[in-house]
């Protein structure tokens, strides 16, 4: 079975991720997931491709810490985080986060917390390739 936290070039299957998540417990009542995708349009410009770069060893360590913290903080039964680092086109998958809990409130809260924290804490950068050229994305404060 694949690791619950991964950085990879390849796309992922939600069915496989959910099956792996569910394998650990039959006490899960709710699984909340977040799937981040590449948009064809950002800040008023067409976007052809998005290219990702990561500080791999640190990013993976942070993502593992983040998962452990979420499990503890929201009493999750399990959680998974997968981030692609490659060049994607509009509509392609970028990041997948899943949080499983006995009840839905904790699953939603845990899932949302993980994607919010990931954006703050995990050393990954994206560059948008537009008809006007390439530019690194500067996150809003």
């Amino acid at each position: 079975m694949s690791a619950p936290v991964r950085i990879q070039e390849a796309d992922f299957s939600q069915d496989e991720e959910i099956a792996a998540l569910k394998a650990g417990s039959k006490r899960m009542g709710g699984i909340a997931t977040f799937l981040g995708c590449a948009r064809d349009f950002s800040e008023g410009r067409d976007v052809h491709e998005i290219s990702f770069e990561a500080y791999g060893s640190m990013a993976l360590a942070e993502m593992n810490k983040l998962r452990n913290e979420a499990i503890e903080k929201f009493s999750l039964l399990d959680a998974r985080i997968v981030h692609r680092v490659t060049t994607v086109r509009a509509g392609d998958n970028i990041v997948f986060i899943a949080a499983a809990a006995e009840h839905r409130a904790a699953a939603f809260d845990g899932c949302r917390w993980m994607i919010d924290e990931l954006k703050q804490r995990v050393p990954i950068w994206k560059k948008e390739i537009t008809p006007q050229g390439e530019s690194w994305v500067t996150p809003h404060p």
Binding site: Y55, I115, K119, Q120, R121, I124, W125, P139
Partner: protein, 79 residues
């Protein structure tokens, strides 16, 4: 030796992803930052986070050790 890593927009401005600096005993993070910051002021204006051995460090007086890995990072934009 100290291994220095640059990523994303910072790597673009430094025009390099990695360099090695001679280690000298007593060397601090501040020494590295001021040395490289003078050489690449445009790049260092983008630095929001610094990690030593994959852990964020806020104190520039942090003592370095031979073989340390320092990363200079712009604001993250993953996810």
């Amino acid at each position: 030796m100290i291994k220095v890593l640059f990523f994303g927009p910072i790597a673009d401005r430094v025009e390099s992803r990695e360099m090695q600096l001679e280690f000298t005993p007593g060397m601090t993070l501040h020494d590295v930052v001021s040395h490289l910051g003078m050489q690449y002021p445009g790049a260092f204006g983008l630095v929001s986070f610094i990690a030593v051995n994959q852990t964020q460090v806020h104190d520039k007086q942090t003592l370095l050790h031979d073989g340390d890995e320092i990363a200079f990072m712009a604001k993250f934009s993953g996810g």
